[in-house]
Amino acid sequence: MSDKEIKSLEAIFEARIARDEKIEPKDWMPEKYRKTHIRQISQHAHSEIVGMLPEGNWISRAPSLRRKAALLAKVQDEAGHGLYLYAACETLGVSRDELYDQLHSGKAKYSSIFNYPTVTWADMGAIGWLVDGAAIINQVPLCNTSFGPYARAMVRVCKEESFHQRQGFEIMLKLCNGTPEQKEMAQDALNRWWWPSLMMLGPTDAESIHTEQSMKWKLKRKTNDELRQQFIDQTVPQADLLGITVPDPDLKWNEETGHYDFGEINWDEFWQVVKGHGPCNKKRMKDRVNAWENGAWVRDAAMAYAEKNEKRKLKEAI
Protein backbone atom coordinates (compact mmCIF):
# COMPACT_ATOMS: atom_id res chain seq x y z
CA MET A 1 0.00 0.00 0.00
CA SER A 2 1.25 3.45 -0.79
CA ASP A 3 1.69 6.00 1.95
CA LYS A 4 -1.16 7.93 0.44
CA GLU A 5 -3.51 4.97 0.53
CA ILE A 6 -2.59 4.34 4.16
CA LYS A 7 -3.21 7.95 5.04
CA SER A 8 -6.64 7.74 3.48
CA LEU A 9 -7.47 4.51 5.33
CA GLU A 10 -6.32 6.13 8.52
CA ALA A 11 -8.56 9.10 7.91
CA ILE A 12 -11.57 6.82 7.37
CA PHE A 13 -10.60 4.85 10.47
CA GLU A 14 -10.29 7.91 12.67
CA ALA A 15 -13.61 9.19 11.37
CA ARG A 16 -15.32 5.93 12.29
CA ILE A 17 -13.97 6.16 15.82
CA ALA A 18 -15.05 9.78 16.03
CA ARG A 19 -18.56 8.66 15.02
CA ASP A 20 -18.44 6.10 17.88
CA GLU A 21 -18.52 3.19 15.48
CA LYS A 22 -16.93 -0.02 16.75
CA ILE A 23 -13.76 -1.31 15.12
CA GLU A 24 -13.95 -5.06 14.57
CA PRO A 25 -11.02 -7.50 14.20
CA LYS A 26 -11.47 -7.95 10.44
CA ASP A 27 -11.53 -4.19 9.85
CA TRP A 28 -8.46 -2.37 8.69
CA MET A 29 -6.63 -0.66 11.55
CA PRO A 30 -3.34 1.18 11.94
CA GLU A 31 -0.51 -0.97 13.21
CA LYS A 32 -0.08 1.26 16.21
CA TYR A 33 -3.73 0.81 17.14
CA ARG A 34 -3.32 -2.94 16.96
CA LYS A 35 -0.14 -2.91 19.03
CA THR A 36 -1.50 -0.52 21.65
CA HIS A 37 -4.58 -2.67 22.05
CA ILE A 38 -2.60 -5.86 22.30
CA ARG A 39 -0.50 -4.22 25.00
CA GLN A 40 -3.40 -2.85 26.97
CA ILE A 41 -5.80 -5.79 26.67
CA SER A 42 -3.13 -8.37 27.46
CA GLN A 43 -1.91 -6.30 30.38
CA HIS A 44 -5.46 -6.28 31.61
CA ALA A 45 -5.78 -10.04 31.08
CA HIS A 46 -2.50 -10.69 32.88
CA SER A 47 -3.72 -8.59 35.79
CA GLU A 48 -6.77 -10.80 36.14
CA ILE A 49 -4.65 -13.94 36.12
CA VAL A 50 -1.98 -12.70 38.49
CA GLY A 51 -4.74 -11.15 40.58
CA MET A 52 -6.05 -14.64 41.31
CA LEU A 53 -2.97 -15.35 43.39
CA PRO A 54 -3.21 -12.90 46.31
CA GLU A 55 -6.87 -13.81 46.80
CA GLY A 56 -6.31 -17.50 46.15
CA ASN A 57 -3.96 -17.29 49.10
CA TRP A 58 -6.93 -17.07 51.48
CA ILE A 59 -9.27 -19.68 50.04
CA SER A 60 -7.99 -22.44 52.28
CA ARG A 61 -8.23 -20.13 55.33
CA ALA A 62 -11.52 -18.35 54.70
CA PRO A 63 -13.26 -17.88 58.07
CA SER A 64 -16.70 -19.25 57.12
CA LEU A 65 -18.12 -21.56 54.48
CA ARG A 66 -20.13 -18.70 53.01
CA ARG A 67 -17.00 -16.60 52.61
CA LYS A 68 -15.05 -19.53 51.24
CA ALA A 69 -17.68 -20.08 48.56
CA ALA A 70 -17.84 -16.37 47.71
CA LEU A 71 -14.06 -16.16 47.45
CA LEU A 72 -13.92 -19.23 45.21
CA ALA A 73 -16.58 -17.66 43.01
CA LYS A 74 -14.69 -14.40 42.85
CA VAL A 75 -11.40 -15.99 41.87
CA GLN A 76 -13.26 -18.04 39.30
CA ASP A 77 -14.73 -14.84 37.85
CA GLU A 78 -11.25 -13.42 37.56
CA ALA A 79 -10.10 -16.46 35.64
CA GLY A 80 -13.16 -15.94 33.43
CA HIS A 81 -12.25 -12.31 32.84
CA GLY A 82 -8.76 -13.43 31.91
CA LEU A 83 -10.26 -15.89 29.47
CA TYR A 84 -12.37 -13.42 27.55
CA LEU A 85 -9.76 -10.73 27.61
CA TYR A 86 -7.20 -13.12 26.13
CA ALA A 87 -9.82 -14.08 23.56
CA ALA A 88 -10.37 -10.40 22.70
CA CYS A 89 -6.62 -10.01 22.37
CA GLU A 90 -6.33 -13.07 20.14
CA THR A 91 -8.65 -11.43 17.60
CA LEU A 92 -5.77 -9.01 17.01
CA GLY A 93 -3.58 -11.80 15.72
CA VAL A 94 -1.60 -12.85 18.76
CA SER A 95 -1.88 -16.24 20.48
CA ARG A 96 -2.50 -16.80 24.15
CA ASP A 97 0.77 -18.73 24.35
CA GLU A 98 2.65 -15.71 23.02
CA LEU A 99 0.96 -13.51 25.55
CA TYR A 100 1.83 -15.88 28.38
CA ASP A 101 5.36 -15.92 27.15
CA GLN A 102 5.49 -12.12 27.39
CA LEU A 103 4.14 -12.29 30.92
CA HIS A 104 6.51 -15.01 32.07
CA SER A 105 9.57 -13.39 30.55
CA GLY A 106 8.75 -10.12 32.30
CA LYS A 107 8.20 -8.32 28.99
CA ALA A 108 4.51 -7.70 29.67
CA LYS A 109 3.26 -5.88 32.72
CA TYR A 110 0.33 -6.49 34.99
CA SER A 111 -1.25 -4.31 37.62
CA SER A 112 1.35 -3.58 40.27
CA ILE A 113 -1.13 -3.79 43.10
CA PHE A 114 -0.97 -7.56 42.99
CA ASN A 115 2.64 -7.43 44.11
CA TYR A 116 1.56 -6.65 47.64
CA PRO A 117 0.97 -9.56 50.03
CA THR A 118 -2.42 -10.52 51.45
CA VAL A 119 -1.59 -10.94 55.10
CA THR A 120 -4.96 -11.02 56.83
CA TRP A 121 -8.52 -11.94 56.02
CA ALA A 122 -9.39 -8.22 55.96
CA ASP A 123 -7.26 -7.95 52.82
CA MET A 124 -10.01 -9.87 51.02
CA GLY A 125 -12.33 -7.06 51.99
CA ALA A 126 -9.89 -4.28 51.16
CA ILE A 127 -9.04 -5.74 47.76
CA GLY A 128 -12.71 -5.97 46.83
CA TRP A 129 -13.55 -2.56 48.16
CA LEU A 130 -10.49 -0.58 47.09
CA VAL A 131 -8.74 -2.48 44.33
CA ASP A 132 -11.89 -3.53 42.50
CA GLY A 133 -13.28 -0.09 43.21
CA ALA A 134 -10.31 1.55 41.51
CA ALA A 135 -10.47 -1.00 38.70
CA ILE A 136 -14.09 -0.14 38.00
CA ILE A 137 -13.28 3.55 37.77
CA ASN A 138 -10.60 2.66 35.25
CA GLN A 139 -12.78 0.25 33.37
CA VAL A 140 -16.28 1.65 33.14
CA PRO A 141 -15.28 4.10 30.39
CA LEU A 142 -13.81 1.16 28.47
CA CYS A 143 -17.28 -0.29 27.94
CA ASN A 144 -17.52 2.37 25.22
CA THR A 145 -14.03 2.03 23.86
CA SER A 146 -13.58 1.82 20.09
CA PHE A 147 -12.38 -1.76 19.70
CA GLY A 148 -15.50 -3.96 19.66
CA PRO A 149 -14.24 -7.17 21.31
CA TYR A 150 -12.60 -5.21 24.13
CA ALA A 151 -15.67 -3.04 24.71
CA ARG A 152 -17.95 -6.08 24.87
CA ALA A 153 -15.60 -7.94 27.21
CA MET A 154 -15.53 -4.89 29.47
CA VAL A 155 -19.30 -4.74 29.75
CA ARG A 156 -19.26 -8.20 31.24
CA VAL A 157 -16.18 -7.57 33.37
CA CYS A 158 -17.58 -4.37 34.84
CA LYS A 159 -20.82 -5.98 35.86
CA GLU A 160 -19.00 -8.67 37.81
CA GLU A 161 -16.47 -6.22 39.22
CA SER A 162 -19.13 -4.10 40.81
CA PHE A 163 -20.54 -7.21 42.43
CA HIS A 164 -17.06 -7.97 43.75
CA GLN A 165 -16.68 -4.42 44.96
CA ARG A 166 -19.92 -4.58 46.94
CA GLN A 167 -18.90 -7.95 48.33
CA GLY A 168 -15.55 -6.53 49.45
CA PHE A 169 -17.24 -3.60 51.12
CA GLU A 170 -19.57 -6.01 52.88
CA ILE A 171 -16.59 -7.96 54.26
CA MET A 172 -15.21 -4.68 55.61
CA LEU A 173 -18.57 -3.71 57.06
CA LYS A 174 -18.87 -7.00 58.89
CA LEU A 175 -15.39 -6.53 60.34
CA CYS A 176 -16.08 -2.95 61.33
CA ASN A 177 -19.29 -3.97 63.08
CA GLY A 178 -17.51 -6.86 64.77
CA THR A 179 -15.15 -7.13 67.72
CA PRO A 180 -12.34 -4.63 68.34
CA GLU A 181 -9.85 -7.15 66.89
CA GLN A 182 -11.91 -7.35 63.74
CA LYS A 183 -12.21 -3.62 63.39
CA GLU A 184 -8.47 -3.26 63.92
CA MET A 185 -7.92 -5.85 61.22
CA ALA A 186 -10.04 -3.74 58.85
CA GLN A 187 -8.16 -0.57 59.74
CA ASP A 188 -4.83 -2.30 59.24
CA ALA A 189 -5.92 -3.47 55.80
CA LEU A 190 -7.02 0.02 54.82
CA ASN A 191 -3.65 1.34 56.01
CA ARG A 192 -1.79 -1.07 53.77
CA TRP A 193 -4.00 -0.94 50.66
CA TRP A 194 -4.92 2.75 50.49
CA TRP A 195 -1.81 4.14 48.86
CA PRO A 196 -1.22 1.26 46.47
CA SER A 197 -4.85 1.67 45.35
CA LEU A 198 -4.25 5.33 44.54
CA MET A 199 -1.14 4.33 42.61
CA MET A 200 -3.19 1.79 40.70
CA LEU A 201 -4.79 4.62 38.75
CA GLY A 202 -1.45 5.23 37.10
CA PRO A 203 1.32 7.81 37.20
CA THR A 204 0.41 11.48 37.36
CA ASP A 205 -0.63 12.99 34.07
CA ALA A 206 2.74 14.70 33.74
CA GLU A 207 4.48 11.30 33.72
CA SER A 208 1.90 9.38 31.74
CA ILE A 209 3.18 8.64 28.24
CA HIS A 210 0.20 7.07 26.52
CA THR A 211 -2.58 9.45 27.49
CA GLU A 212 -3.11 11.59 24.41
CA GLN A 213 -3.28 8.83 21.82
CA SER A 214 -5.42 6.68 24.11
CA MET A 215 -7.91 9.48 24.56
CA LYS A 216 -8.37 9.68 20.82
CA TRP A 217 -9.03 5.94 20.57
CA LYS A 218 -11.35 6.09 23.55
CA LEU A 219 -9.03 3.74 25.39
CA LYS A 220 -9.08 6.51 27.91
CA ARG A 221 -11.74 9.11 28.64
CA LYS A 222 -10.27 10.81 31.66
CA THR A 223 -6.71 11.38 32.79
CA ASN A 224 -5.14 9.36 35.57
CA ASP A 225 -5.34 12.27 37.96
CA GLU A 226 -9.02 12.80 37.22
CA LEU A 227 -9.72 9.12 37.81
CA ARG A 228 -7.74 9.20 41.03
CA GLN A 229 -9.69 12.18 42.29
CA GLN A 230 -12.93 10.40 41.41
CA PHE A 231 -11.80 7.33 43.33
CA ILE A 232 -10.87 9.34 46.39
CA ASP A 233 -14.08 11.34 46.35
CA GLN A 234 -16.09 8.17 46.13
CA THR A 235 -14.13 6.13 48.66
CA VAL A 236 -13.55 8.50 51.57
CA PRO A 237 -17.23 8.70 52.54
CA GLN A 238 -17.34 4.91 52.45
CA ALA A 239 -14.44 4.76 54.90
CA ASP A 240 -16.34 7.20 57.10
CA LEU A 241 -19.34 4.94 56.93
CA LEU A 242 -17.18 2.02 58.01
CA GLY A 243 -15.75 4.11 60.82
CA ILE A 244 -12.14 3.58 59.84
CA THR A 245 -9.56 6.19 58.98
CA VAL A 246 -7.87 6.77 55.65
CA PRO A 247 -4.13 6.83 56.41
CA ASP A 248 -3.49 10.27 54.99
CA PRO A 249 -3.09 13.16 57.42
CA ASP A 250 -3.43 15.64 54.54
CA LEU A 251 -6.79 14.33 53.44
CA LYS A 252 -9.37 17.10 53.73
CA TRP A 253 -12.63 18.08 52.08
CA ASN A 254 -12.16 21.18 49.95
CA GLU A 255 -15.40 23.18 49.82
CA GLU A 256 -14.10 25.30 47.00
CA THR A 257 -13.15 22.57 44.54
CA GLY A 258 -15.85 20.18 45.73
CA HIS A 259 -13.20 17.48 46.01
CA TYR A 260 -10.95 15.98 48.63
CA ASP A 261 -7.42 17.30 48.83
CA PHE A 262 -4.94 14.56 49.57
CA GLY A 263 -1.31 14.03 50.47
CA GLU A 264 1.68 13.29 48.31
CA ILE A 265 1.91 9.84 46.78
CA ASN A 266 5.20 8.01 47.21
CA TRP A 267 6.05 7.60 43.53
CA ASP A 268 9.40 6.07 44.36
CA GLU A 269 7.56 3.11 45.80
CA PHE A 270 5.34 3.00 42.74
CA TRP A 271 8.26 2.80 40.34
CA GLN A 272 10.11 0.35 42.57
CA VAL A 273 7.19 -2.05 42.39
CA VAL A 274 6.60 -1.47 38.67
CA LYS A 275 10.23 -2.28 38.02
CA GLY A 276 9.90 -5.62 39.72
CA HIS A 277 11.06 -4.88 43.25
CA GLY A 278 7.77 -4.97 45.12
CA PRO A 279 7.26 -7.33 48.03
CA CYS A 280 5.77 -10.13 45.90
CA ASN A 281 6.83 -9.58 42.29
CA LYS A 282 9.17 -12.57 42.30
CA LYS A 283 6.70 -14.81 44.07
CA ARG A 284 3.87 -13.96 41.71
CA MET A 285 6.00 -14.66 38.65
CA LYS A 286 7.38 -17.87 40.13
CA ASP A 287 3.88 -19.08 40.89
CA ARG A 288 2.72 -18.34 37.35
CA VAL A 289 5.79 -19.79 35.69
CA ASN A 290 5.67 -22.90 37.87
CA ALA A 291 2.00 -23.43 37.06
CA TRP A 292 2.78 -23.09 33.38
CA GLU A 293 5.86 -25.29 33.36
CA ASN A 294 4.41 -27.98 35.61
CA GLY A 295 1.35 -28.03 33.37
CA ALA A 296 3.26 -28.54 30.13
CA TRP A 297 2.83 -32.31 30.14
CA VAL A 298 -0.90 -31.88 30.69
CA ARG A 299 -1.31 -29.50 27.76
CA ASP A 300 0.84 -31.78 25.59
CA ALA A 301 -1.35 -34.71 26.51
CA ALA A 302 -4.54 -32.83 25.71
CA MET A 303 -3.10 -31.86 22.33
CA ALA A 304 -1.94 -35.39 21.53
CA TYR A 305 -5.29 -36.81 22.56
CA ALA A 306 -7.19 -34.30 20.42
CA GLU A 307 -5.05 -35.21 17.41
CA LYS A 308 -5.59 -38.92 17.96
CA ASN A 309 -9.32 -38.33 18.23
CA GLU A 310 -9.30 -36.33 15.03
CA LYS A 311 -7.60 -39.21 13.23
CA ARG A 312 -10.00 -41.75 14.68
CA LYS A 313 -12.95 -39.70 13.45
CA LEU A 314 -11.38 -39.34 10.04
CA LYS A 315 -10.89 -43.09 9.83
CA GLU A 316 -14.48 -43.72 10.77
CA ALA A 317 -15.62 -41.26 8.13
CA ILE A 318 -13.72 -43.06 5.38
Binding site: E181, A291, Y305
Partner: protein, 251 residues
Protein backbone atom coordinates in the same frame (compact mmCIF):
# COMPACT_ATOMS: atom_id res chain seq x y z
CA UNK B 1 -30.31 -41.97 69.18
CA UNK B 2 -32.02 -41.96 65.82
CA UNK B 3 -31.07 -38.32 65.54
CA UNK B 4 -27.49 -39.06 66.52
CA UNK B 5 -27.26 -41.61 63.72
CA UNK B 6 -28.82 -39.21 61.27
CA UNK B 7 -26.43 -36.46 62.35
CA UNK B 8 -23.42 -38.77 62.01
CA UNK B 9 -24.64 -39.96 58.66
CA UNK B 10 -25.00 -36.44 57.27
CA UNK B 11 -21.59 -35.45 58.59
CA UNK B 12 -19.92 -38.42 56.96
CA UNK B 13 -21.34 -37.48 53.56
CA UNK B 14 -20.64 -33.78 53.90
CA UNK B 15 -17.08 -34.12 55.13
CA UNK B 16 -16.11 -35.73 51.82
CA UNK B 17 -17.33 -32.66 49.95
CA UNK B 18 -15.71 -30.25 52.37
CA UNK B 19 -12.27 -31.81 52.27
CA UNK B 20 -12.28 -32.41 48.52
CA UNK B 21 -13.46 -28.83 47.99
CA UNK B 22 -10.67 -27.63 50.27
CA UNK B 23 -8.07 -29.59 48.31
CA UNK B 24 -9.32 -28.18 45.01
CA UNK B 25 -9.34 -24.69 46.47
CA UNK B 26 -5.59 -24.94 47.11
CA UNK B 27 -5.04 -25.17 43.37
CA UNK B 28 -6.76 -21.94 42.34
CA UNK B 29 -4.49 -20.09 39.95
CA UNK B 30 -1.90 -22.87 39.85
CA UNK B 31 -3.40 -25.23 37.28
CA UNK B 32 -2.05 -26.20 33.86
CA UNK B 33 -4.52 -24.05 31.89
CA UNK B 34 -6.96 -21.26 32.59
CA UNK B 35 -9.80 -23.55 31.60
CA UNK B 36 -8.86 -26.23 34.13
CA UNK B 37 -8.48 -23.54 36.78
CA UNK B 38 -12.00 -22.38 36.07
CA UNK B 39 -13.42 -25.88 36.06
CA UNK B 40 -11.55 -26.90 39.21
CA UNK B 41 -12.74 -23.82 41.06
CA UNK B 42 -16.24 -24.47 39.84
CA UNK B 43 -16.19 -28.01 41.18
CA UNK B 44 -14.82 -26.76 44.49
CA UNK B 45 -17.65 -24.27 44.61
CA UNK B 46 -20.26 -26.96 43.97
CA UNK B 47 -18.78 -29.13 46.68
CA UNK B 48 -18.64 -26.35 49.25
CA UNK B 49 -22.24 -25.51 48.34
CA UNK B 50 -23.32 -29.09 48.95
CA UNK B 51 -21.38 -29.13 52.20
CA UNK B 52 -23.28 -26.09 53.40
CA UNK B 53 -26.63 -27.70 52.65
CA UNK B 54 -25.70 -30.81 54.58
CA UNK B 55 -24.17 -28.98 57.54
CA UNK B 56 -27.11 -26.59 57.82
CA UNK B 57 -29.37 -29.60 58.10
CA UNK B 58 -27.04 -31.26 60.58
CA UNK B 59 -26.84 -28.08 62.65
CA UNK B 60 -30.64 -28.00 62.82
CA UNK B 61 -30.67 -31.58 64.07
CA UNK B 62 -27.94 -30.84 66.59
CA UNK B 63 -29.74 -27.78 67.89
CA UNK B 64 -28.30 -25.61 70.66
CA UNK B 65 -27.64 -22.73 68.32
CA UNK B 66 -24.91 -24.54 66.39
CA UNK B 67 -24.21 -23.35 62.86
CA UNK B 68 -22.76 -24.82 59.70
CA UNK B 69 -19.47 -23.12 60.56
CA UNK B 70 -19.24 -24.73 63.98
CA UNK B 71 -19.48 -28.07 62.25
CA UNK B 72 -17.12 -27.16 59.45
CA UNK B 73 -14.38 -25.55 61.51
CA UNK B 74 -14.56 -26.51 65.13
CA UNK B 75 -14.26 -30.25 65.31
CA UNK B 76 -11.17 -32.25 66.27
CA UNK B 77 -9.45 -34.23 63.56
CA UNK B 78 -10.93 -37.57 64.58
CA UNK B 79 -14.43 -36.10 64.41
CA UNK B 80 -14.10 -35.56 60.66
CA UNK B 81 -15.37 -38.67 58.89
CA UNK B 82 -14.34 -38.17 55.27
CA UNK B 83 -12.74 -41.05 53.37
CA UNK B 84 -8.96 -41.04 52.99
CA UNK B 85 -9.29 -40.64 49.22
CA UNK B 86 -10.41 -37.02 49.31
CA UNK B 87 -7.60 -35.84 51.59
CA UNK B 88 -4.82 -37.08 49.31
CA UNK B 89 -2.58 -34.24 48.10
CA UNK B 90 -2.40 -32.40 44.77
CA UNK B 91 0.89 -34.16 43.93
CA UNK B 92 0.42 -33.36 40.27
CA UNK B 93 -2.48 -32.85 37.90
CA UNK B 94 -2.77 -36.61 37.35
CA UNK B 95 -3.41 -37.06 41.06
CA UNK B 96 -5.91 -34.22 41.07
CA UNK B 97 -7.90 -35.73 38.23
CA UNK B 98 -7.44 -39.29 39.46
CA UNK B 99 -8.73 -38.41 42.92
CA UNK B 100 -11.61 -36.50 41.38
CA UNK B 101 -12.56 -39.28 39.00
CA UNK B 102 -12.36 -42.04 41.60
CA UNK B 103 -14.59 -39.96 43.84
CA UNK B 104 -16.97 -38.67 41.18
CA UNK B 105 -17.96 -42.12 39.94
CA UNK B 106 -18.84 -43.06 43.49
CA UNK B 107 -20.45 -39.71 44.19
CA UNK B 108 -22.83 -39.91 41.25
CA UNK B 109 -23.89 -43.47 42.03
CA UNK B 110 -24.40 -42.35 45.61
CA UNK B 111 -26.37 -39.21 44.78
CA UNK B 112 -28.63 -41.14 42.44
CA UNK B 113 -29.55 -43.37 45.34
CA UNK B 114 -29.76 -40.60 47.92
CA UNK B 115 -32.47 -38.97 45.79
CA UNK B 116 -34.62 -41.93 46.85
CA UNK B 117 -34.00 -41.32 50.55
CA UNK B 118 -37.05 -41.28 52.80
CA UNK B 119 -35.53 -38.20 54.37
CA UNK B 120 -36.93 -35.36 52.28
CA UNK B 121 -34.13 -32.91 53.01
CA UNK B 122 -31.43 -35.36 51.98
CA UNK B 123 -33.40 -36.33 48.89
CA UNK B 124 -33.72 -32.66 47.95
CA UNK B 125 -30.02 -31.97 48.46
CA UNK B 126 -29.21 -34.99 46.30
CA UNK B 127 -31.62 -33.94 43.59
CA UNK B 128 -29.94 -30.57 43.37
CA UNK B 129 -26.44 -32.03 43.60
CA UNK B 130 -26.84 -34.80 41.07
CA UNK B 131 -26.64 -32.41 38.13
CA UNK B 132 -23.45 -30.87 39.46
CA UNK B 133 -21.89 -34.24 40.13
CA UNK B 134 -22.72 -35.51 36.64
CA UNK B 135 -20.76 -32.59 35.29
CA UNK B 136 -17.84 -33.29 37.66
CA UNK B 137 -17.73 -36.88 36.51
CA UNK B 138 -17.84 -35.95 32.85
CA UNK B 139 -15.03 -33.47 33.38
CA UNK B 140 -12.77 -35.83 35.32
CA UNK B 141 -13.47 -38.82 33.05
CA UNK B 142 -12.54 -36.73 30.03
CA UNK B 143 -9.25 -35.81 31.64
CA UNK B 144 -8.51 -39.41 32.59
CA UNK B 145 -8.87 -40.24 28.92
CA UNK B 146 -6.82 -37.28 27.74
CA UNK B 147 -3.99 -38.03 30.12
CA UNK B 148 -4.17 -41.81 29.83
CA UNK B 149 -4.38 -41.76 26.05
CA UNK B 150 -2.28 -38.61 25.51
CA UNK B 151 1.51 -38.88 25.47
CA UNK B 152 3.67 -41.68 26.91
CA UNK B 153 4.65 -39.29 29.72
CA UNK B 154 1.08 -38.43 30.59
CA UNK B 155 0.10 -42.07 30.45
CA UNK B 156 2.84 -42.95 32.93
CA UNK B 157 1.91 -40.11 35.25
CA UNK B 158 -1.79 -40.92 35.14
CA UNK B 159 -1.08 -44.59 35.78
CA UNK B 160 1.14 -43.71 38.74
CA UNK B 161 -1.67 -41.65 40.25
CA UNK B 162 -4.29 -44.33 39.69
CA UNK B 163 -2.02 -46.98 41.20
CA UNK B 164 -1.45 -44.89 44.31
CA UNK B 165 -5.03 -43.75 44.76
CA UNK B 166 -6.56 -47.16 44.13
CA UNK B 167 -5.77 -48.24 47.68
CA UNK B 168 -8.32 -45.74 48.95
CA UNK B 169 -11.26 -46.79 46.78
CA UNK B 170 -12.53 -49.67 48.88
CA UNK B 171 -13.22 -47.46 51.87
CA UNK B 172 -15.89 -45.64 49.89
CA UNK B 173 -18.15 -48.62 50.45
CA UNK B 174 -17.49 -49.17 54.15
CA UNK B 175 -20.52 -48.90 56.32
CA UNK B 176 -20.42 -47.17 59.65
CA UNK B 177 -22.89 -47.87 62.41
CA UNK B 178 -24.81 -44.77 61.34
CA UNK B 179 -24.83 -46.00 57.73
CA UNK B 180 -26.35 -49.29 58.70
CA UNK B 181 -28.92 -47.83 61.07
CA UNK B 182 -30.01 -45.22 58.55
CA UNK B 183 -30.03 -47.66 55.62
CA UNK B 184 -32.34 -49.95 57.52
CA UNK B 185 -34.79 -47.05 57.74
CA UNK B 186 -34.53 -46.23 54.06
CA UNK B 187 -32.73 -42.98 54.77
CA UNK B 188 -29.15 -43.88 53.94
CA UNK B 189 -27.75 -45.30 50.75
CA UNK B 190 -26.63 -48.92 51.06
CA UNK B 191 -23.14 -48.33 49.72
CA UNK B 192 -22.28 -52.03 49.53
CA UNK B 193 -24.72 -52.26 46.63
CA UNK B 194 -22.80 -49.63 44.65
CA UNK B 195 -19.49 -51.46 44.66
CA UNK B 196 -19.96 -53.63 41.62
CA UNK B 197 -21.20 -50.82 39.40
CA UNK B 198 -18.42 -48.60 40.69
CA UNK B 199 -15.55 -50.88 39.75
CA UNK B 200 -17.22 -51.70 36.46
CA UNK B 201 -17.61 -48.05 35.49
CA UNK B 202 -14.18 -47.07 36.69
CA UNK B 203 -12.57 -49.96 34.87
CA UNK B 204 -14.32 -49.11 31.61
CA UNK B 205 -13.02 -45.55 31.66
CA UNK B 206 -9.51 -46.66 32.60
CA UNK B 207 -9.48 -49.18 29.80
CA UNK B 208 -10.71 -46.65 27.30
CA UNK B 209 -7.95 -44.38 28.57
CA UNK B 210 -5.35 -47.09 27.87
CA UNK B 211 -4.64 -47.43 31.57
CA UNK B 212 -4.20 -50.63 33.53
CA UNK B 213 -6.81 -51.36 36.15
CA UNK B 214 -4.80 -52.03 39.32
CA UNK B 215 -5.09 -55.43 40.92
CA UNK B 216 -5.01 -55.09 44.63
CA UNK B 217 -5.79 -57.30 47.54
CA UNK B 218 -5.09 -54.82 50.32
CA UNK B 219 -6.84 -51.52 50.76
CA UNK B 220 -6.20 -48.63 53.13
CA UNK B 221 -9.02 -47.29 55.25
CA UNK B 222 -9.52 -45.23 58.35
CA UNK B 223 -11.06 -41.86 57.51
CA UNK B 224 -14.61 -43.04 58.04
CA UNK B 225 -13.61 -44.05 61.55
CA UNK B 226 -11.85 -40.74 62.08
CA UNK B 227 -8.31 -42.13 61.71
CA UNK B 228 -6.88 -39.98 58.94
CA UNK B 229 -3.69 -39.81 56.97
CA UNK B 230 -0.92 -37.48 58.04
CA UNK B 231 -2.11 -35.04 55.38
CA UNK B 232 -5.32 -34.33 57.24
CA UNK B 233 -3.67 -32.52 60.12
CA UNK B 234 -2.18 -29.98 57.75
CA UNK B 235 -5.46 -29.52 55.92
CA UNK B 236 -7.07 -28.68 59.24
CA UNK B 237 -4.37 -26.22 60.33
CA UNK B 238 -5.38 -24.06 57.38
CA UNK B 239 -9.09 -24.82 57.31
CA UNK B 240 -9.58 -24.01 60.97
CA UNK B 241 -7.03 -21.22 61.33
CA UNK B 242 -9.37 -18.23 61.44
CA UNK B 243 -12.07 -19.80 63.59
CA UNK B 244 -9.50 -21.09 66.07
CA UNK B 245 -7.54 -17.85 66.19
CA UNK B 246 -10.56 -15.56 66.47
CA UNK B 247 -13.19 -17.58 68.29
CA UNK B 248 -16.85 -16.61 68.48
CA UNK B 249 -16.85 -13.93 65.85
CA UNK B 250 -18.95 -13.34 62.78
CA UNK B 251 -17.48 -12.91 59.36
Amino acid sequence: MKNQHLFNYIISIADNSLILGQRLGELCGHGPTLETDIAGTNIALDLIGQTRNYYQYAAKIQGGGKTEDDIAFLRLEKEYKNVLLVEQPNTHFGYVMGRQFLFDVFHLLFMNQLMQSKDDTLAAIAKKGVKEVSYHKRFSSDWIKRLGDGTPESNAKMQEAINDLWAYTDELFDQTEADKAMASEGIAVDTTKLKESYYKEVSEVLEEAKLTVPERKYFTRGGKKGVHSEYMGYILTELQYMQRTYPNMEW
